[in-house]
Amino acid sequence: MAKLDVEITVNSKKYNLKVGSQERLLDTIRKELKLTGTKEGCSVGECGACTVIVDDKAVNSCMILTAQVDGSEIITVEGLESKKGLSPLQKAFVEKQAIQCGFCTPGMLMSALALLKNNPRPNKEKIKTALEGNLCRCTGYQQIIEAVETAAKEWGV
């Protein structure tokens, strides 16, 4: 199968890759770049565990081909922490105990980050809408909402 040349920026680092035309962005991230923080939960775009940010929008990386995002800027969960430490959103998740098993957490963080980038002061309904595509079976979502509210009110993204 023909390989395509793709240039993507992931967590501020530029990659020139040769990818198969059918390769999912999720596989590029997990298998090629070894960024395993992004999870695969359903492979059909229903659970949101594979959510990453592509050009400021939260997308299910299992539903998009790497060739489609040529030239894009991508953020994964590994891109949140900086030399200064955890990002405000990460801190809020820790602070509010918005984590249990942690499998949905990377995707939740990505959807929440995309929301806050576009709308720094979302109300509860907006938060729910932004996170609707991210399933969580452990937390009942309450503390996740509290974390996003806290990040928005007190700390920013």
Binding site: G37, C47, G102, F103, P106, K128, L131, C138
Partner: protein, 764 residues
């Protein structure tokens, strides 16, 4: 008592790796030279295997081995009854039984090779209905057994005929519950690494119960337990679900790893997970209750039958929990209960959070509201006339003493949190619009820990290093519930150190003592006590040394925040200086902790005894809106009050409550694994709906604390009680709102609107 770490909402000790993507789950692991394996599963729910042809698959690119039952030393396993095959040898009994497997250089090559395996079957008649399975002359799913009955638990108290004779009113009702899927977000994943030295294999992955997996794999390989090493990774949710199915997966991978002498990785897709994993038991329940016109219960007769699917799995114990809790938390002189489990050719069923209680509570707490209505009495009044109080005697003859029986307290606190009385009165008035509101409650008592199912003991190990850093090991496993955090809090509390000094270690069966399974909401209670025990031994050792060194009485010294203090709160030494000096003096600063629960008893024939040494009590209330025009059901608000003894970490407890309520809500109004003639219809989250953030009601989580003398710092259980109450509370609220009583789960649109589920394909 003033605590430094316990009873505080400290941050999770595993939070950092989970918010940064550093936490490694099963599918994230990679070993040099690893192979990938896939399983060929049958589509037939019941068939004889005539022939399996693998030659073509073996020639496929990248294939390093094709395996069938013939390649497995001991093909039979099972935690209670050994009736499950690693790969089906000559007969498949459920759609999804594995018949062959392939190990290859890549996942795609393994999958391609599977398609080249040809299996010839002779399809057999199957049993898909409980009623059919129960018939004396029905075909036997396991021909070596007398019939399809997996188990029967009787319970007899008093004389029900006499009790019903005393009743002014007798109500008989039938209820049913559905098959549901755990829906942990992480599909199952394991890697098995063959070892050249010391032992046979090392197993990594999303494993709920490392010791159970070790035992299953050792059985299959005919190896000694010490030859099988299980190292637990981060696990992406389990809820009882990553036990037998993961053990089978590990056993398969171990067979292939030993044959190919290479690490073998297996990761289920969501569809494979739905196909293969066990689920929650559907129940059919018959209740008969008698009461005086004043509302005093006189007798209860119960029959509950569970569909075990093709394997026994945990059915004997799941149905045992049902028999203990079947009457609900009500005083009754006359009780007759029979719970059964039966084999069918349906997907098999096993442990899921709640474990045999959500089904009977749905029935029994719906029944209480139905009875209240018949008596013209409020649901609260009827319950309060009959609930267990201090020193009440249960259906099995146990006196509830030694701990606080707090049913009335949890009821009152839940009612207060949601403003129950005012809403009940308001919604009881005529509501002319299509949209009608209602409010309903349910209550439960729940035995903590394993009870008389098995010996209940757990161990831990604490090692203090020269520099004062502390490693904590437990034989119980983090499943996401927060065990590492609360065990660290308990250790830090006893040792008088900061949480930063603690390194919490993963379960590794080579180093951590076998502590049984992390199930039955037992970790805080049993495991917490063992951590406390280890820490107390070390604290005593340190204080003995310090007493000698400073020539002070031991009871005049205390450890706090990393320092040794005297009675006047003068700092005498750093914890780390003391521990360094002790180790330099050759004093052992490692200790095992051990805790075995107080005595319990059960007479299997009569169904009596003291099945659990302590209980927890809970009340949940649901406020709903029913659109009687469209059938749309919205859960607006829920209150959940749970007595946890003591909350070691109140934020974690609330997280358990929110999560349990939402899982209960899914069970109540949306979830059902649809099965037709043994075939699962929808195998992913677009067909099988679990609650999203948009389905969330406002949830008031109320923590009630009555410290238990047998709990570590008074703590007991919270994981499962949170899930068992929602369905009856919601059903009661729907009945209050609409006047329509729904006796089967889920309470979906059709049932709310027309009172029954619509059958697929139109009229029937």
């Amino acid at each position: 008592m003033a605590f430094k770490h316990v009873n505080k909402g400290v941050k999770r000790v595993d939070a950092y790796e989970k918010v940064t993507g550093k936490a490694k789950f099963g599918a994230d692991l990679e070993f040099a030279d690893q192979l990938y394996a896939k399983v060929l599963r049958t589509e037939y729910p019941h068939a004889r295997i005539i022939n399996i042809e693998t030659a073509e698959a073996e020639k496929m690119p990248g294939v390093r081995g094709v395996f069938t039952a013939a390649d497995i030393k001991n093909n039979l396993f099972g935690v209670i009854v050994e009736d499950q095959q690693v790969l089906a040898a000559d007969r498949v009994v459920l759609a999804g039984d594995g018949v062959a497997m392939v190990a290859a250089e890549s996942e795609a090559e393994a999958a391609a090779a599977l398609e080249k395996i040809k299996v010839e079957y002779e399809e057999l008649e199957g049993i898909y209905e409980l009623d059919e399975a129960r018939k004396k002359d029905s075909l036997k799913i396991h021909p070596e057994k007398d019939d399809n009955q997996v188990i029967h638990h009787p319970l007899r108290k008093g004389d029900v005929e006499k009790g019903f004779a005393q009743a002014d009113i007798i109500l008989e009702r039938e209820y049913s519950t559905q098959l549901i899927e755990h829906s942990y977000l992480e599909p199952e994943a394991v890697v098995v690494v063959p070892e050249d030295e010391n032992h046979l294999v090392s197993i990594y992955g999303s494993i709920q119960n490392p010791y159970a997996t070790r035992a299953a794999v050792a059985t299959v390989l005919r190896a000694e337990l010490a030859e099988v090493r299980v190292i637990q990774n981060h696990i992406g949710g389990s809820f009882g679900g990553k036990d037998e199915v993961v053990s089978a997966m590990a056993a398969r991978a171990a067979v292939m790893a030993l044959a190919t002498k290479r690490p073998v990785k297996m990761v289920n897709s969501r569809e494979e997970s739905f196909t293969e994993s066990y689920k929650r038991h559907p129940y059919q329940l018959k209740y008969k209750v008698g009461a005086t016109k004043e509302g005093k219960l006189t007798a209860m007769e119960i029959e509950a039958a569970a569909d075990s699917g093709a394997y026994a799995c945990q059915t004997p114990f799941v149905t045992w929990r049902s028999v203990v809790q079947a009457t609900g938390p009500y005083e009754l002189d006359h009780v007759k209960t029979d719970t059964y489990g039966y084999y069918t050719n349906n997907p098999y069923t096993g442990a899921m959070r709640g474990y045999g209680s959500p089904q009977i509570i749905f029935a029994q707490e719906s029944l209480m509201d139905e009875l209240a209505e018949e008596l013209g009495m409020s649901p609260v009044e009827l319950r309060k006339k009959n609930i267990y109080r201090q020193d009440s005697i249960t259906a099995s003859g146990q006196k509830l003493s030694g701990h606080t029986v707090s049913l009335e307290e949890v009821m009152d606190k839940a009612m207060q949190a949601i403003d129950y009385q005012a809403k009940r009165e308001k919604y009881s008035l005529a509501q002319p619009d299509d949209k009608k509101r209602g409010i309903g409650l349910s209550i439960s008592f729940r035995g903590c820990s394993l009870g008389a199912e098995a010996v209940d003991a757990a161990a831990s190990l604490i090692q203090i290093n020269k520099d004062g850093s502390v490693a904590v090991y437990s034989g119980l496993a983090e499943n996401g519930q927060g065990l590492k955090t609360i065990f660290s809090q308990i250790a830090a509390e006893v040792l008088g150190i900061t949480l930063n000094e603690i390194d919490y270690m993963e379960v590794d069966t080579t180093f951590t003592p076998d502590s049984g399974s992390t199930v039955a909401s037992r970790a805080t209670l049993i495991g917490g006590n063992s951590i406390k025990n280890a820490a107390e031994k070390l604290r005593d050792r340190i204080l003995d040394f310090a007493a000698q060194k400073f020539e002070l009485a031991k009871d005049k010294l205390k450890l706090e925040a990393g320092f040794l203090y005297d009675q006047a709160s003068n700092r005498l030494a750093l914890f780390s200086d003391l521990t360094a000096e002790m180790i330099n003096n050759g004093i052992l600063l490692s200790a095992y902790g051990w805790y075995k629960g107080p005595p319990i008893s059960w007479d299997e024939e009569k169904g009596c005894g003291n099945p659990y040494f302590t209980y927890v009590y809970g009340c949940q209330i649901a406020e709903v809106e029913v659109d009687t025009g469209t059938g749309e059901l919205t859960v607006l608000n829920m209150a959940a009050a749970h007595d946890v003894g003591r909350a070691i970490n109140p934020k974690n407890v609330k997280g358990q409550i929110y999560g349990g309520v939402m899982m209960g809500l899914g069970y109540s109004i949306m979830e059902e694994v649809e099965v037709e003639a043994g075939q699962i219809k929808g195998k992913n989250f677009h067909d099988y709906m679990i609650p999203t953030i948009k389905d969330m009601p406002d949830i008031e989580a109320v923590i009630v604390e009555n410290p238990d003398p047998d709990g570590p710092f008074g703590a007991k259980s919270i994981g499962e009680p949170t899930l068992e109450l929602a369905s009856a509370a919601i059903a009661n609220a729907v009945a209050h709102a609409s006047g329509k009583r729904i006796r089967s789960l889920p309470l979906n649109l059709e049932r709310v609107l027309i009172g029954r589920a619509l059958s697929k394909g139109g009229c029937k």
